[in-house]
């Protein structure tokens, strides 16, 4: 009996210590977490524009270093190498008819949300308002809107550019990373290294995080100009990352795109596109949608 009383007191005390410890840990983690989000002062009260972890605005130009023959030219019919099309998708791609596309009222199928960033051209990115980032493309004269905090409206008819919900993600300070001591060499060290060539400068400012864009409600379109299809059931996630290229200091925008289409794809299709920052819109060259041209 005495032992039972003693055990009960011990359990109660242990429970109190557990609760106290857990509560204290949560409070501390929350405090560190707030710091980890860039010392954000009440981030919920800030607009997406003010809370941007990276500045994506400005003029950007495609630099086509990969898949050149699929992007700078119209690929041959049925050339869907590297695209995980399922049999239904292949059948549709094999039936692609350029003349039919040209004759139709809709030559914009390759300029839809899931294809437009693969079309060589320029982007103009700017804030339409405090919670909408707008992306204009001169190729096909298209506009995409990235809605922060928005949800795809129910019952809305599918559109070429679909509905894009956006959110800033990532964004933890370097000081909270493990193994943060490794250098990207400063230039004076590069000079000392001599024969290893021009090593990069340390990238200053260390911008944080990336932009995630989730797109749905797209009209059927083409992943490539040669009629490789995506369906109205397709959804897409995109990740926009901006960084300074260490050798010349140029700013780059790299977009990783994941298209999921249960109708025409066997698995999610991952592509990349990169854009170099250009000073202004002087090279802006708006074109209409053209089924028979690469852009």
């Amino acid at each position: 009996m005495k032992m039972q009383i003693h055990r009960g007191n011990g359990l109660a005390r242990a429970g109190r210590i557990f609760v106290f410890t857990a509560a204290f840990s949560l409070l501390l983690a929350a405090r560190l977490g707030a710091q980890g989000r860039g010392q954000a002062q009440n981030p919920a009260a800030r607009t997406p524009r003010a809370a941007a972890v990276k500045d994506l605005t400005g003029y950007w130009e495609s630099i086509v270093t990969e898949f050149w023959r699929y992007r700078m030219m119209i690929p041959d019919k049925s050339d869907y190498v590297n695209v995980p099309l399922n049999p239904e998708g292949r059948k549709l791609a094999d039936a692609w008819d350029l003349a039919k596309d040209q004759a139709s009222d809709d030559q914009c199928k390759a300029y839809g949300a899931a294809g437009i960033l693969q079309v060589p051209g320029r982007l103009h990115i700017y804030w339409q308002d405090d919670s909408t980032l707008r992306v204009d493309a001169d190729s096909g004269t298209q506009t995409r809107l990235f809605h922060f905090g928005g949800m795809a409206p129910a019952g809305k008819a599918p559109e070429l550019q679909g509905y894009s919900a956006a959110a800033w993600e990532g964004g933890l300070p370097d000081s909270q990373r493990s193994g943060g001591g490794g250098p990207v060499l400063p230039r004076e060290a590069a000079g000392a290294a001599g024969a290893v060539g021009a090593l990069p400068q340390e990238v200053g400012g260390a911008p944080l995080g990336f932009l995630k864009v989730s797109t749905s409600q797209m009209r059927p379109g083409y992943l490539r100009k040669n009629g490789i299809p995506y369906s109205a059931n397709a959804t897409m996630e995109e990740y926009f990352d901006r960084f300074s290229e260490p050798y010349s200091g140029d700013s780059w925008l790299v977009v990783t795109t994941v298209v999921t289409d249960p109708q025409y794809l066997m698995e999610p299709y991952i592509t990349h596109a990169h854009f170099k920052k250009i000073p202004d819109g002087s090279g802006w060259d708006p074109t209409p949608c053209r089924a028979d041209q690469p852009r």
Binding site: L28, W68, R69, G170, L172, E245, T256, V258, G283
Partner: protein, 296 residues
């Protein structure tokens, strides 16, 4: 009885370690981007042909080196088991990737990230160690030092051996450096490679690859021994083309209907306005429109 022995006075000595355990475990849950584990490639490498230098900002020396390359060079005994430099090793199939950390025993801090792929194996040092001196040996993996830039791991690699940018003979010099940016987007791991090679490129060459998290993946070992069987060429000569004598150089351009000049690459060819310029260039009569079939 055992429970009773843990209660009371002994808890007084345990509350502080318990508190620290909670605090640090709570922190580590959000303070790191975890790259470790098995990653399955979704690279869709664009399997280049001889003469396909499209999109590569080659300078004149780079074009000459590429044109001189003969595909039979891969059958030389010394090349049969030649590894790829680290970056192309991550891009050519199969390139399943396994990432692990190496920790300091005393501090449990990350000393290095270890990237292992079928063709490639290298470490990214995170402990601030100095780069090797100029005279240090160049290797297939080179020397990589990294740091975090927000949610991206960024590392620069130098001390690489001379190698290739493509499997079809576009060279990268031993003075090249590669800056790699690794970012995890959910279950997708993306690497951006920025290659700087003043010997053969007029500007940095940027390209990307992605992998998908795949914990069930198995990476086979890569034991390679030169075998006397097969198509090994006898030692003593290196198959190559003298400048202007490469009779397969235009095959790619003919098969795809690309102006031969454009197929040879160069920074200008990567810009959107080059599309208009190509309209005024001559193409050679196409030999096929089904070339892609053999790529599967």
């Amino acid at each position: 009885m055992r429970l009773a022995s843990l209660s009371g006075r002994k808890w007084k000595g345990l509350w502080l370690p318990a508190l620290l355990l909670f605090v640090f475990s709570a922190r580590s849950a959000w303070a790191q981007v975890d790259f470790t584990g098995e990653w399955s490639p979704r690279i869709y490498n664009d399997g280049r042909d001889v003469g396909d230098y499209t999109g590569i900002p080659l300078n004149e020396a780079g074009q000459l080196r590429a044109e001189g390359w003969h595909p039979d060079q891969t059958d030389l005994p010394e090349n049969l088991c030649r590894p790829h430099p680290y970056d192309i090793g991550l891009r050519v199939a199969p390139s399943q990737l396994y990432v692990s950390t190496e920790l300091d025993n005393a501090t449990q801090q990350v000393v290095a990230y270890h990237f292992h792929a079928y063709w490639s194996d290298f470490r990214v040092w995170m402990d601030g160690r100095p780069r090797p001196p100029q005279y240090a040996a160049h290797t297939w993996s080179g020397f990589s030092a990294g740091k975090w830039e927000g949610s991206a791991l960024v590392f620069t690699t130098d001390h690489l051996k001379e190698g290739y940018l493509t499997r079809t003979g576009v060279a990268i010099s031993e003075n090249a450096t590669v800056t790699t940016r690794v970012t995890r987007y959910g279950n997708v791991l993306t690497m951006v490679f920025v290659i700087n090679d003043p010997a053969y490129l007029t500007e940095p060459y940027i390209r990307e690859s992605s992998w998908v998290y795949d914990p069930q993946q198995f990476i086979p070992p890569f034991p390679c021994e030169p075998s006397p069987e097969g198509t090994i060429l006898p030692a003593g000569s290196v198959p190559s083309f003298l400048p202007g004598k490469n009779d397969m150089l235009t095959d790619f351009a003919k098969e795809y209907g690309i102006p031969p000049e454009a197929a040879l690459g160069g920074a200008e060819t990567t810009r959107p306005e080059y599309i208009e310029k190509m309209k005024h260039m001559k193409t050679l009569p196409r030999t096929t429109t089904k070339h892609y079939v053999r790529q599967g």
